[in-house]
Every structure is written in C-alpha cells, then in structure tokens.
C-alpha cells in the first residue's frame, strides 16, 4: 500500500511572518488607548505561547476588525477586569490585572446577568494563559462593537 505523502508542518517563521503587528496595534486603540499598555497586550497576544496561537490570534482579530465600522464606537458599559495568573498567596494587588477589560453587556444575549451561567461565561473567557484570555477578551471587545453597530436605531 503506498504511503501517504509526507506533509511537512508549516514553519513557525512563516506564521510569525504574516503577523502585521502595527495593524493589530491600530485595531486595539479604541479599547487600549495608552501605547505602552497596548504594547503589553500585544506582547501577550503575539509573542507568547506556541506559534500557531500567535498566528491564530492575529488572523481572528484582524478578520473581526474588518467587519467593524470606521470609525468604531466603543459604548460605555459594564466590564470585568482580567486578572493576571498569580500564585494565590501573591495575588490580590489592585494593579495585577491586564490593561484590557472584558465588556460584559454582550453576554446578556446568552444568559441573564445575575445567573450562574453568566458568571461561568466570564470565567471561561478570562481564565487561562494570557495569550488565550486576552485574545478572548479582545474578540469580545470587537464583537461587542460590531453588534452595537448593527443594533437598530
């Protein structure tokens, strides 16, 4: 029986190569206006974790960004801080949160605000290593703006 053709995995440099960091930086300005805060968030999204996560973060956020109106309006609303993953006995400082907050009003489309499901959704979105949690939160930010723009007057 003939062997299936060997498929060489995509080189990580090819993944890193397609990331347009300045474009993602511009995309996040409405949610993270401070340039250095944004540099920190981008470092977590694009410089940490396996290459395929970095590439996926870039692709998904960029595509969502293409759906946004220009200029994008970020409506004020309730939000949740994203805590850093610290050992429990060292956590608790007010500053130990990432400079990007999870908008939570959008989740009310899926569950009532005071329900256990609502809290569990928040927990699912902000838990995990920063390259996951911050990508989740950034996507929810973009989706919130997108759905807000589609809301009938």
């Amino acid at each position: 029986m003939p062997k299936p053709p060997h498929r060489r995995p995509t080189a990580s440099s090819a993944i890193i190569g397609f990331i347009d960091r300045p474009a993602l930086d511009r995309l996040l300005v409405p949610w993270v206006p401070d340039a250095q805060d944004r540099a920190f968030v981008l470092r977590c999204l694009l410089d940490e974790g396996p290459a395929h996560h970095r590439g996926s973060n870039y692709v998904l956020l960029s595509l969502l960004g293409q759906l946004l109106p220009d200029p994008v309006e970020v409506a004020p609303g309730p939000s949740q801080a994203v805590p850093m993953r610290l050992p429990p006995h060292l956590a608790g400082g007010d500053d130990a949160v990432f400079p990007l907050r999870l908008p939570t009003a959008i989740l009310e489309r899926l569950a009532p605000r005071d329900s256990p499901a609502f809290q569990a959704m928040i927990d699912a979105l902000i838990d995990g290593p920063p390259q996951h949690a911050l990508a989740n939160v950034a996507m929810v930010c973009l989706l919130s703006a997108l759905l807000e723009a589609r809301r009938p007057e």
Partner: protein, 213 residues
C-alpha cells in the same frame, strides 16, 4: 613580582557582590589606573579569567575608555509609565544614576545573587528608596504598571549575558505579569573570556533591550 596586594581578589569578590561586577570593575580599574596602565594590565591577567566582566572593563581601559557608559535616558524611557520597578541584578553605579529619573516609582531589588551578599548592608545605602524582595515573593509586585529591569553584560548576536537569577525569574508566566521587561547592557563591551558567573539569555526575552545593537 606582582605589584598587586594579596587580598585583592577577596576585596574584588566582596565588591562585585555588593556593588555589582561592572560597577566594582570600573572602581578597581579606575583606582589602579591612576598609577598607570601596567597595573590595570596586571589586574586583568591576575583576575580576568575569574571575573570576565572585570576582564572586559580592564580591556576597555587599556583601549582608552576611561569610564563606564551610563546613559539613563533610554532606560528611563523604557520604564516610562511604570509605578513599580523590580531590578534583577545589582549594579550600583547604574542604579544610582537611574534613580533620580524614577521619581514616583517604587523601586525594588531582587535579593538573590551568586555572590554572598549582605543585603541589609546593601539596601541600607538606599535609605528606603530601594527595597528588597526575594525569589519566593517577587510576583506580588506583578502588575500592569510594573516593570522588570535586568542588568546584562555585553551582546553576542541575538544573545546577551546576565546573572543566573534572571533564569529563576523569567518564564512565560512572569513575562506576562509585567508591563515591560527591560534589558540594560551595563557592560557595553564584548567579553573576551568564558563568562563565568553569567548565563546566556536571548535578547528576545526582553520587551526592550537598551544597549548597542
């Protein structure tokens, strides 16, 4: 016959621990250099293999450089916006120069070293301006406005050299708990001998690297 005293190595060892290898090297080289380059050359021959930063600094002196290169502008810019700064690696000449540029920033020093250091004595020099924190608890300083500042020694391609405690600190967890991870090349010269006391670190581990490219 050596013109250097018998206690020189012990004195340098203590100074390297409590001032930092580069700060101590410049102090010793400058003092010996007052009596001529021959003494600096002898110092390099006697202690250089054991203390590679001293070897590099002595070489700089013999090539005509007369002082450490301490430009705090780029470092203070890299630390802009920080409310807390944790220094990894003690280099007193450099930290002393930087502190006036860190007004309003709480400064901490990791009390870990390959040398035996009397940390109470070291920190007493700073009269509360710099406080100590150990490896077990430094993550309580993590935060969106906290910066890590790591002293490094020269660069070779994409690698730099730093003290081993950096390897105990750096990790994917810690890197994402600090706003910026700044490497500061305090040596600003190549090392010519095996860099004992130090470890290689990729420059890419730092979000900003301050030093010659």
């Amino acid at each position: 016959m050596s013109q250097l005293g018998p206690g020189l190595e012990q004195a340098f060892h203590v100074a390297a621990g409590e001032l930092g290898m580069c700060s101590a090297a410049w102090l010793f080289v400058r003092e010996l250099g007052k009596d001529g380059d021959a003494l600096v050359a002898e110092l390099r021959d006697v202690l250089g293999r054991s203390y590679p930063v001293l070897d590099a600094v002595a070489t700089c002196w013999l090539e005509g450089r007369r002082a450490a290169s301490i430009d705090v502008s780029a470092v203070s810019a890299a630390c802009a916006g920080a409310s807390q700064l944790l220094a990894i690696g003690l280099e007193t000449s450099f930290l002393d120069a930087l502190l006036p540029r860190l007004e309003g920033v709480a400064v901490w020093l990791l009390t870990q070293s390959a040398f035996s250091v009397d940390w109470d004595r070291v920190l007493a020099n700073y009269q509360g301006r710099v406080r100590g924190v150990d490896l077990a608890s430094f993550q309580r300083l993590a935060g969106r406005r906290s910066t890590l500042l790591v002293m490094t020694y020269g660069r070779r391609g994409e690698l730099t050299f730093t003290s081993p405690e950096w390897l105990r600190v750096v990790g994917s967890d810690v890197r994402t708990q600090f706003r910026a991870v700044v490497g500061w090349d305090v040596l600003d010269a190549p090392m010519q001998v095996y860099p004992r006391w130090l470890v290689e670190a990729p420059c890419a581990d730092f979000s900003q690297y301050v030093g010659a490219p």
